[in-house]
Amino acid sequence: MNCREATALVSQALEWPLATGTQLRLRLHLLTCSGCRNFGRQAPWLRDLLRAHAQGQDERPPRR
């Protein structure tokens, strides 16, 4: 598995459950690759971020 495949799977896992074998191979790749590990933390964080953005439309200083 290379980084391109690993990050595509990280993204996919946010929509659909991955097969067990795929999950294992992905985890193995993430163990050895800090770049993909960072992506693996950032992708779900982006989801939380967008939801916070949708929720907190007025709980921040005014924009622009």
């Binding site: 916070a52 439309q57 924009r63």
Partner: protein, 198 residues
Amino acid sequence: MLAPALEWADAAFLGSLRQQMLRFAMQQLSDSVRAEDAVQEAFVGALQNAKAFGGRSAFKTWVFAILKHKIADSLRHRYRDAERHGAEPGADDAQDLSELFQANGHWEGDERPADWGDPQQALQQGQFWQVLEICLDALPGQQGRVFLMREYIELEPQEICTCLDISVSNLNVMLYRARLRLRECLENRWFCGNGVAA
């Protein structure tokens, strides 16, 4: 506008809530008539049940939940119309990933995602939200819409495929690219541009 006899629902509160809803709907629909309609319907629906809410924040959460559904409906109709008129989903976001990855599929040296430390801290800073909006605006048309439908409006992936008439693999690719792109933009403009741990 109906004015329920509730002390927390005064005109100033309702007026400012309506502005927030309009801004939210405009971001999603980019069409002031559709945005007005969605806000109006959500507002009237929520006000009819306003007595059931103990205060502003519960009411606001509720009215935004209704608004999200109205926006989702409006998007569904729009794409059904677009389909009838032969619009081609996915045509506008042919993005080459070769800038990010080498031929063997490993990261290009300077494209490797950095460690963002504790990104939650950014949420406290008003400027960060401006950067986020710049980065969201920079997502190409269909890719940006799909990403927002998924992460902002919280539609289920299958529902997005049905409503845009795209395949699951097409959806996966668009969300993947949007995440790569948004991540990169935030990293360049905030997390690393700002001197946070690289």
